[in-house]
């Protein structure tokens, strides 16, 4: 019994559920094959898109892809859906929504005003009807500005996370990488470490070092130790200088359980971080990472395609006023995104859906050694994202994250992107760079590092 159908050529294709229709309409990716929900032929995929184009948006409010009773992510999405904003935007079906988003008369502000009326599933659905060019064009219109000590996301700017990971969390080794990054103008989105050891004592040691360095250098940025949200709550309780609360999030309750996460934990952590009042330019204190395939890897996808689940994870993020959200797009592996074509498409999708949902979207432009991708592909994706108006990207020394064992952008890639696109750092950080002059000579920076015991 096919609820949704469309005819391509002589063949009529049917799709039993909204989830099946969405999965079949998605551009090909290995994770949907692994889940057994990908389109079985190219013609079936196009038929699914045709059926999707004619699908009324109100169907998304009546047919949850993951059952309301079983999933707190579904409950969050539907309970916070803004009926007034939904009624005020003109699109009645998914195809209309695509045309409306692309209409030159529709501004980024118009899209952000409609955004609370759009569910993540609607936004995922419309992305499936869009070419890469469309994803870039719409995202480019939308300006999402957030602030803590620096202001991120203003039109004409692109910030960077400086990621100074070290396999043994060695403080001097981390400081050396921070200096290398600052000399190249990285770090205005956040200086964020993935700790090798998640013990509370170790995370406090790291965040204290980052805070000390930031104060000595008078750096207009924020620091973060990317540990579990409940550990960050403990760190705050212990009096640690926590700027941002980090958490990996996914698009189903069951996948979040795999992260040991309940949505209530996020609210508690946000409140704790806000109580510290450490922001100067603003008080956006949350930092989230997501990635297509995270639900499937926890065997918690409920028959929903990985891109729709990614948008649902972003639906979680938008409930907590984040400073930063990024997809870790090429990190999760070739069983989810097989090659550069799939990674590039997914990176543009995640950036698009995040922006339409009102998120300060960044991207970890990255790949693992077992994916069919290399530096040339990351050059392509980073330029596409810079043009699309990405809020921030992640950077490491020489593209090589020696702790997590994957390749992200290099510090020097930022100079290239700024030179070729004219994008500038966050304004507070740009003023600091002009004052410190690291690009003309590192003397003041080196002096500051000597004061914390790291000398050249």
């Amino acid at each position: 019994m096919a609820t949704y159908k469309a005819t391509v050529g002589k063949e009529t294709f049917g799709f039993p559920t909204l989830a099946a229709l969405l999965a079949a309409a998605t551009p090909e990716r290995s994770g949907d094959h692994l889940a057994g929900i990908a389109a079985l032929s190219e013609q079936q995929r196009v038929a699914a898109r045709m059926a999707l184009a004619d699908l009324s948006l109100s169907v998304f409010l009546n047919e949850a892809v993951v059952a309301y009773a079983e999933c707190e992510v579904t409950r969050l999405i539907l309970d916070t859906h803004d009926q007034t904003a939904f009624a005020a935007q003109p699109a009645r079906n998914v195809g209309d929504l695509r045309n409306w988003l692309l209409d030159p008369a529709v501004s980024g502000g118009d899209i952000l005003a409609a955004s609370p009326g759009l569910t993540p599933e609607m936004v995922a659905a419309v992305s499936k009807l869009m070419r890469n060019q469309d994803l870039i064009r719409v995202a480019h219109k939308i300006e999402v500005v957030t602030a803590f000590r620096s202001t991120i996301g203003r039109r004409g700017t692109m910030a960077t996370r400086l990621q100074p990971n070290h396999p043994a969390d060695d403080l001097a080794g981390i400081a050396a990488v921070i200096l290398d990054g600052l000399m190249r103008g990285a770090g205005d989105a956040v200086i964020g470490i993935n700790p090798a050891s998640d013990s509370i004592a170790n995370c406090i040691r790291l965040v204290e070092m980052l805070d000390d360095l930031r104060e000595k250098l008078a750096l207009p940025t924020q620091s973060c130790v990317l540990t579990h949200v409940t550990s960050t709550i403990d760190m705050i309780a212990a009096g640690a200088p926590v700027d941002l609360v980090f958490q990996s999030i996914a698009g189903t309750e069951k996948a979040n359980e795999g992260f040991g996460l309940r949505l209530a934990d996020l609210a508690e952590a946000q409140e704790a971080a806000l109580s510290l009042g450490r922001g100067t330019a603003g008080q956006d204190v949350m930092y989230f990472e997501t990635g297509q395939g995270s639900a499937l890897s926890a065997n918690a996808h409920s028959g929903v395609d990985q891109q729709t689940l990614e948008a649902r994870a972003q639906g979680v993020a938008r409930a907590f006023r984040p400073l930063l959200v990024n997809t870790v797009v090429g990190f999760i592996g070739p069983e989810y995104l097989f090659d550069a074509k799939q990674i590039i498409r997914a990176g543009l999708e995640d950036h698009f859906t995040g922006k339409v949902l009102g998120l300060p979207m960044g991207v970890d432009v990255c790949y693992t050694n077992h994916a069919e991708a290399d530096q040339d592909d990351m050059d392509s994706l980073s330029v596409l994202l810079a043009v699309a108006g990405v809020n921030f990207v992640i950077t490491v020394p020489g593209s090589d994250d020696i702790m997590l064992g994957y390749q992200s952008l290099a510090f020097e890639d930022i100079a290239f992107l700024r030179e070729t696109t004219g994008l500038r750092p966050a304004p507070e950080f740009e003023a600091w760079l002009a004052n410190q002059g690291p690009s003309v000579g590192a003397q003041p920076l080196l002096a500051a590092f000597e004061r914390i015991g790291v000398s050249a």
Partner: protein, 253 residues
Amino acid sequence: MKEPTRSTRFDKLRRLTPSRVRFDASDHAPGLDAVLDFQASHARARDAIHRSVDWDSIIADLAPHTALRLESKAGERKTYLSRPDFGRELSDRSLLALDGMRVEGPVVVLADGLSSFAVQSHGAALFQALTALIPELGNAPVFLVEQARVAIADQIGASVGATATFMLIGERPGLSVSDSLGAYFTWAPDPGLQDSRRNCVSNIHANDGLSIRDAAARLAWVWQEARKLGTSGVTLKDMSGMQKAIASERSGE
């Protein structure tokens, strides 16, 4: 093709981290030497993943112990990389090869995993070191599996009635190390069991990693403890303090 001489001013800082730091405040593209060095590292990692294992030379290194070659359902590398579920199951032909075979005690499985270089360089040596500490391992053939994921050892172990499995498998190569071997111990192997039932000793390689000798000692400790407790996995990990004490005793020898 000579690069401009790199400033020595930051050498002290460079020694603080194995990262590819530059300490160069210019906006210039990276030097060609750095670009080619990166490409060489990536090429080594890619070859570790995509080149096949020379199993005959491993069989020779396993002597006098015998070996039995098996394969997963993945068939070839592209399928292996995109379908991890196929890498966790034996092919029909391999299942047939195990039909009726019974072993007493624990077995060792050697697998390519994500690095053929790892199993090629360290697989047989770790097996020999392990057998010296756990003589029961000599009673069964060593199972050599192509296109395999960790969990395929559960199917092999259950099929032959082994009390436990030692799965020695190539880890995902990084840019700095492409031949790191991982060892997974599982008591009472059974297809579908949770990863929390395993004990893992990882990072076994010669480039600042865990030595063959230390890896074998850790695995032998896990084996002794598992026999006492009748299980493996997180229950054993809770006593890692004891494991550390044993390790420091050993280093004091």
